[in-house]
């Protein structure tokens, strides 16, 4: 009897274990009752789901835009999956192959390159070439930066536009009689003066080396490449030997030079973006590589007499163009979208000048549409930046998203280079090796 009871206990426990494990790994096979997609007299019909991350830009613009889209297509049932944690919340559905129709790729836990590698996004190469918005304008013609081409194909459409660059305090510069350097040699000359005044010429958040990449290294590479931005694309495509090429080496030497001359603040390798920005606002350093969001991010900590100045790059040779390294957050259609027609229609609806102005006013940032911002509420820095990008003297580089393994090695190597641990040659070797591994 006792043996039997024991057996019973063991079996119940085993069964409960199996049940619990089976319960966890079961796939969600709930089939939603689909309405048929297509066109009705009232426009599009069926279900349509949009996933968007809600972060610094808020969700006011999204709600507004989707409401207008809904009015245009009253028979369409629109579902908004949104929030600051939406990328994590939706992840199981992407894994199970049940994604939303349109996704705005932004925020932590999202990476457009990875989504392409995971074959989750629809190839829109042909469609985007001729797609027009509802005002009849071609989307491509409206965009400030063109969609990224990855292995010859386009999967994402840049929605938000911004660029890295170097920031300084114009008021502080005026007070000290410093003029903003227009090329690398005048940057070196000015840095010597700034250093003599007991201030660090350059500070950057070493925990996030993408800042010094965007503000210093990448522009330097393009300048060294005769102002041709394609080299950045080739780096993104991991072309063999590109990280050892002459322009890259020249740029690395520039970075190594300013580090050897002691122009980079010693605090840099240990600090994150907020720390570096605080030190910059306290005039511990004269220049900081950053993005156009800087002004609004530090709004509450900026001293009253601080006047943000912006210059895209500092590494060009005399007479060379200024180089702006853009960043963008993108929209994409899921490869397994259930209503791709509505998804395309939505993107065509989004890309119009009125929506871009609305974006600038609701978020203070730039949408990837060429518009006249002077009448808008965009920040003064954004307006200055826009003038740079519209000028012939500035080259806006293509948007490139790196393979995350290669990017990590590149970031580590850059920090090692700035602290003098390695030489430019070793930087190149490390990154070439990582690229070779990633190409496999």
């Amino acid at each position: 009897m006792k043996k039997q009871t024991k057996l019973f206990v063991v079996m119940t426990l085993t069964l409960s274990l199996i049940l619990s494990i089976a319960g966890c790994s079961g796939t969600d096979s709930s089939s939603s009752k689909k309405k048929s997609n297509g066109l009705t007299a009232n426009g599009l019909a069926g279900d349509f789901e949009i996933q968007y991350f809600v972060g610094g830009y808020g969700d006011a613009w999204w709600k507004d835009t989707i409401e207008q889209f809904q009015k245009l297509h009253p028979d369409l049932t629109i579902k908004q999956s949104a929030g600051p944690k939406i990328n994590d919340q939706m992840k199981p559905r992407w894994i199970q192959g049940n994604p939303p129709d349109v996704v705005y790729i932004d925020g932590s836990g999202s990476n457009p390159r990875q989504m392409m590698d995971d074959h989750q996004l629809l190839d829109v190469t042909d469609w985007i070439k001729d797609a027009k918005n509802i005002d009849g304008e071609k989307l491509i013609d409206l965009m400030i930066t063109e969609p990224e081409v990855y292995s010859g194909k386009t999967y994402t459409i840049p929605l938000v536009f911004g660029a890295y660059g170097n920031f300084y305090d114009q008021a502080f510069f005026d007070k000290n009689g410093w003029s903003v350097p227009q090329d690398y040699s005048s940057f070196l000359a000015l840095s010597e003066k700034i250093k003599a005044a007991g201030i660090s010429p350059y500070i950057h958040p070493g925990v996030y080396p993408e800042y010094i990449h965007g503000g210093f290294l990448f522009p330097a590479i393009i300048s060294a490449n005769g102002d041709h931005g394609e080299i950045l694309k080739e780096m993104g495509d991991l072309k063999a030997g590109i990280f050892k090429s002459e322009p890259v080496m020249k740029a690395l030497n520039q970075l190594s030079e300013i580090s050897k001359l002691g122009y980079i603040d010693q605090a840099s390798p240990a600090i994150n973006h907020t720390d570096s920005q605080m030190l910059f606002l306290q005039h511990k350093a004269a220049f900081i590589p950053n993005g156009l969001w800087l002004e609004s991010e530090m709004k509450n900590d900026t001293p009253a007499d601080f006047k943000f100045g912006y210059i895209p790059s500092l590494t060009q040779s005399k007479g060379g163009k200024l180089i702006a390294i853009p960043y963008s957050t993108t929209l994409a259609i899921a490869k397994k979208a259930k209503n791709p027609e509505a998804a395309k229609a939505f993107i065509q609806f989004v890309f119009k000048k009125k929506n871009a102005l609305n974006w600038a006013e609701k978020t203070g940032a730039l949408m990837n549409v060429k518009t006249d911002l002077d009448s808008s509420e965009a920040s003064p820095v954004a307006k200055t930046a826009m003038k740079f990008y519209n000028s012939d003297h500035t080259l806006v580089a293509p948007v490139v998203v790196f393979n995350s393994d290669v990017e990590k090695v590149m970031k580590d190597a850059t920090i090692a280079l700035t602290v003098g641990k390695i030489k430019p040659e070793e930087w190149a070797e490390r990154v070439e090796a990582a690229a070779a591994k990633a190409r496999k």
């Binding site: 409960s16 992407w94 990875q114 390798p269 990590k408 641990k421």
Partner: protein, 297 residues
């Protein structure tokens, strides 16, 4: 007979719910993690490719994994020595030397334990800040030139700089544990020793240590386990594993690989490594610390 069956049924009703929760929240993730470690999977893709033990082979050739293991054990060693010396010293000082204000010290030492690790990390990052940090400001009082050492930004000081806050944050709990142990030692033993002319240090080594050995052992094992599994938080908040991966620990490298570089299979393999490392280390420590138990009759 009937009575026994009833009793066992009673026990089962308590066992099964607990066991179900244990299975769902502990066993299942462990088994699933081990399973994923055999695949090449991005963590977000529909497709997983079976690669056998390739992730583990890759790990052998990954220099960062070795750095991480080395750092993990440096932290284990540093924390065990640092925390045990300080906690024992404070506990003895307060209980045996009859200091005044015991309650005050107890509260002060325990304070870091109620602060979240994230807050501690951020706090110490400020202390270490090269330009506006507290540490450099203090050191600069003694030098002509102001000191601007980037404690967390240079490879030879970064890991040490993570160790101190970890010790500081850990002392309080073990201090309380040891203090309670010492207080449970009958005072008559110390009185007898004093009459026999034993010095304080003699009393410490011959009475206190043997009688609180069990608690010391538990403390050491607990420090080992929590460090191997939890050093991630401090590292991630203070350096994110940098500069140039010099402060990477297994936990932070797991996070980096899984959630930043999208190699969930590889990250799971690191997880499995952590599991086995913790198991083996705990077993070894348990062996090393075995001592004849001294019991009060």
């Amino acid at each position: 007979m009937f009575h026994i069956a009833k009793r066992e049924r009673f026990i089962i009703t308590f066992l099964i719910p607990t066991f179900i929760f244990f299975s769902v929240f502990t066993l299942y993730p462990i088994v699933r993690g081990m399973h994923i470690s055999l695949f090449d999977w991005s963590g977000s893709s529909e497709f997983m490719t079976y690669v056998g033990v390739q992730n583990f082979v890759d790990m052998l050739h990954d220099p960062i994994v070795w750095t991480a293991i080395k750092n993990d054990y440096s932290l284990v060693l540093g924390k065990v020595i640092g925390i045990m010396i300080l906690a024992t010293f404070f506990a003895v000082a307060i209980t045996r030397f009859r200091l005044r204000g015991t309650g005050f010290f107890r509260m002060i030492f325990f304070m870091p334990n109620i602060i979240s690790a994230v807050v501690i990390g951020v706090l110490w990052r400020f202390i270490y800040n090269p330009n506006i940090g507290f540490l450099n400001a203090i050191l600069s009082l003694f030098t002509k030139q102001p000191i601007r050492t980037p404690w967390l930004g240079q490879e030879d000081t970064a890991l040490w700089s993570i160790l101190w806050p970890s010790i500081w944050a850990g002392v309080g709990f073990y201090f309380l544990l040891l203090m309670a142990a010492i207080l449970s030692v009958p005072t008559s033993l110390y009185e007898a020793a004093e009459i026999d002319g034993a010095t304080q240090s003699r009393q410490f080594w011959s009475i206190t240590v043997p009688l609180i050995w069990e608690q010391m052992k538990i403390s050491i094992l607990h420090i080992v386990m929590t460090t191997l599994n939890g050093s991630f938080v401090m590292v991630w908040i203070m350096t994110e594993g940098g500069p140039d991966n010099s402060t990477q620990v297994m936990g932070s490298y797991l996070y980096q690989m899984g959630f930043r570089q999208y190699h969930m299979g590889y990250a799971s393999a690191i997880g499995v490594l952590i599991l086995f490392m913790s198991l083996i280390t705990t077993l070894i420590f348990q062996r090393l610390l075995r001592r004849d138990e001294v019991q009060l009759s």
